[in-house]
């Protein structure tokens, strides 16, 4: 009898102890959001991203294995602005997890409060291609938006796990301090190229361009989501020649054939620009995204300034 009581007490203690130490399970749509959540959450969270950093975030498959991840999540962080509309809503619906439904405590739309560009000012139709009626969803390519996201994540983690408030605040402060110093470094590297005209493959970079004072003068896609056409490619070749565009920025998941062809005709350099953490194994966190892209841009511009 005594043994039973001791056992029961032990089980009870273990039972109480586990939830206290259990990590908050954070699921994010993008690896960038997972990286920020990790930085802010530290040891108190475990994160998992659904999309891989090297895949097109618009076309992620709604795999049932994601349902399992979502069913166990305490917090779901999405990029929002309908970036995930092609796969996430039915997965949330099937997750059996009411916490992470939009509007509930375990759902965080990271775009809230961020500087969102290209919000349509007129009626949008699909004649414009894959337009996002709420604005351009690639906003995390501005590190200042990363700061906004980190603050929102810290507030959300504090709300879900008040015991960890001090940890989250400390981690947030450290993240922000590092971001501020990194921003100085990136700004310094990019400063000589202020006003540089660039062509991108897809409309993924308006936030990056605004932050680092680049001017996007055209896209290889004739319209968002519509593959390159011969006529448009010719227009871009002429544009590059006329505007003396030095680089074409291409996301890793797009076909290089047309950009390489354009480069061959114009002498512009094709630079692979990684929008996300995990784009290649070396890009391990949110800071690496900018380190990598800024350095790639600076290298590509060497010898091209004043062309």
């Amino acid at each position: 009898m005594k043994t039973t009581k001791t056992l029961a007490a032990a089980v009870l203690l273990v039972g109480l102890a586990i939830p206290a130490q259990a990590k908050l399970r954070v699921v994010t749509s993008l690896q960038d959001l997972a990286s920020i959540a990790e930085a802010v959450g530290g040891d108190r969270v475990e994160t998992v991203a659904l999309a891989r950093g090297y895949q097109d975030p618009h076309f992620v498959d709604a795999k049932p294995s994601f349902i399992l991840k979502l069913s166990r999540a305490d917090l779901l962080i999405v990029a929002g602005l309908e970036l995930e509309i092609g796969y996430l809503p039915p997965l949330i619906d099937q997750s059996r997890n009411e916490k992470i439904h939009p509007g509930n405590a375990g759902y965080l739309d990271a775009s809230t409060g961020c500087d969102i560009l290209q919000k349509p000012t007129q009626v949008v139709t699909r004649a414009m291609g894959d337009v996002h009626p709420y604005g351009n969803p690639h906003y995390w390519t501005d590190p200042e938006n990363g700061r906004v996201i980190a603050r929102a994540v810290a507030a959300k983690l504090t709300e879900l796990d008040p015991v960890g408030a001090a940890v989250y605040q400390a981690n947030l402060a450290a993240f922000q301090a590092r971001l501020t110093s990194k921003e100085r470094e990136w700004d310094a590297k990019m400063a000589p190229f202020a006003g540089t005209k660039v062509v991108t493959f897809h409309e993924s970079w308006p936030n990056f361009a605004k932050r680092f004072k680049l001017e996007i003068v055209g896209t290889v896609e004739p319209k968002p989501g519509i593959p390159p056409s011969p006529t448009h490619t010719l227009e871009i070749i002429n544009l590059i020649a006329n505007d003396k565009v030095a680089v074409i920025l291409v996301e890793p998941y797009f076909d290089r054939k047309t950009p390489d062809y354009i480069a061959g005709k114009t002498g512009a350099a094709v630079v692979t620009f990684y929008p996300s953490v995990g784009g290649i194994p070396e890009i391990k966190d949110y800071f690496d995204v900018f380190d990598r892209n800024v350095d790639a841009f600076v290298n590509a511009m060497k010898g091209k300034v004043g062309r």
């Binding site: 891989r52 090297y54 895949q55 097109d56 076309f59 498959d61 709604a62 795999k63 049932p64 294995s65 349902i67 399992l68 991840k69 069913s71 309908e82 509309i85 092609g86 796969y87 809503p89 039915p90 949330i92 619906d93 099937q94 997750s95 059996r96 997890n97 009411e98 916490k99 439904h101 939009p102 509007g103 509930n104 699909r126 291609g129 894959d130 009626p133 709420y134 989501g225 519509i226 593959p227 890793p252 998941y253 797009f254 076909d255």
Partner: protein, 385 residues
């Protein structure tokens, strides 16, 4: 049998009541191919203005989508005599959250001269115990193709096992209740058990002659990621119900389905492949004895470029009511997607109908070309998976 039936119904009702009482959150549809609701981006109503009221009500309108399915057919086929040109289906989708406990999804299918509710159901998605409950009219989770709407199929036509063994082109659609439970396996393998019960239907594989005759379906699905780029989807289904030939006659249906997908994530927009197949078995009690019939299809689709797909399909099925007659077919498809919202497809199809069939006592071979144009307007649906 009666007892099992009442137990299943009571279980379904009990689950519903628990769900509502538990005060769960806004749920949503099951893996219907085109189920992604988004409230229309209505601007917040200016406070106090009279126009505000109508804007607010717009905000809660369901998201609306319409998918047109045009089909032109060339060649000869006296057995399945499709019109030379038809707007075969116009599917109207209406989807929204109902209240904090449920969401609703309607798919109204307009033919050129008739209308039917292809699906219309309420879903409780945040029930305790990893359950998902749907009530209403729905495509039955029997095999994989039967759950797909016409516009997400990789062909313009239904494969023979559906036509011969699931009661015709429409396949098996039922009105009743569905309960699905997640049963995760070790190693992050997704597994789900679905139990469904449906009332009497005027057509399809199960036709009831009395109110007390209901049909059941059970479906078990396992999904595993073999790697980042490859995954395997397996399903087992079993259906049982009255077939209407006489008051107590029943049909039992079994199915095995498998889908293997390959999509290298980096270049997944340009290159991918899917191999899928299903095997159906039917045991139908009818005057003169029990007919045991089988059927299968195997299909492969390969993505050549961002907008181009090719595919081949082989199929064979005995007739549910006469296993001595067996139909077989082969088909090749070429699909072009101008954008995510429109699709052009050509299919070259040969079907060899066993005799006797509706046109002759002997076997009959039909060679046809099917040209399909599909187009979607309105709310952005989830990409089919």
């Amino acid at each position: 049998m009666n007892m099992i039936r009442s137990v299943v119904w009571s279980a379904a009702l009990a689950l519903l009541v628990t769900g509502v009482a538990a005060g769960q959150e806004p749920p949503a549809p099951q893996p219907t191919p085109n189920a992604t609701p988004t409230p229309a981006p209505a601007a917040p109503a200016p406070a106090g203005s009279t126009g505000g009221a109508s804007q607010t009500s717009n905000y809660f309108n369901p998201s609306v989508s319409v998918i047109g399915n045009f089909l032109a057919v060339g060649g000869q086929n006296a057995v399945e005599n499709l019109p030379s040109a038809s707007l075969r289906e116009s599917e109207l989708g209406l989807q929204a959250v109902v209240d904090p406990y449920a969401r609703a999804d309607f798919f109204i299918s307009f033919g050129e001269h008739n209308v039917s509710v292809e699906e219309g159901y309420l879903t409780f998605t945040s029930l305790p115990g990893d359950l998902l409950v749907k009530v209403g009219r729905m495509r039955v989770s029997f095999g994989k193709v039967n759950t797909m709407h016409l516009h997400v199929m990789p062909w313009p036509d239904e494969p023979l096992p559906v036509v011969n063994l699931l009661g015709g082109e429409e396949g098996w659609v039922g009105t009743g209740a569905s309960v699905a439970k997640l049963l995760p396996l070790p190693g992050d393998i997704f597994s789900e058990l679905t139990l469904q019960v449906f009332g009497d239907e005027p057509d399809g594989p199960f036709v009831a002659t009395k109110r007390s005759a209901v049909a059941y379906n059970g479906h078990y699905r396992v999904f595993a990621d073999l790697s980042d780029s490859t995954n395997l989807d397996l399903g087992l289904s079993y259906g049982l119900g009255p077939n209407g030939t006489n008051p107590d006659a029943k049909t039992a249906l079994g199915a095995v389905d498998a889908t293997l997908r390959w999509k290298p994530l980096v270049k997944g927009n340009y290159r991918s492949a899917i191999v899928r197949g299903e095997y159906f078995r039917s045991r139908r009690e009818q005057s003169g004895g029990t007919v045991s019939a089988g059927g299968w299809f195997l299909s492969g689709e390969y993505q050549l470029a961002k907008r181009w797909w090719v595919g081949v399909r082989g199929e064979a099925a005995q007739r549910a009511d006469n296993a001595a007659v067996k139909d077989t077919g082969t088909a090749a498809t070429l699909t072009f997607w101008p954008s995510e919202f429109s699709q052009l497809r050509a299919e070259l199809r040969q079907r060899r109908y066993g005799g006797p069939n509706s046109v002759s006592a002997a076997a009959y071979t039909a060679n046809e070309v099917l040209l399909q144009l599909q187009f979607a307007i309105g709310a952005h649906g989830a990409h089919p998976f």
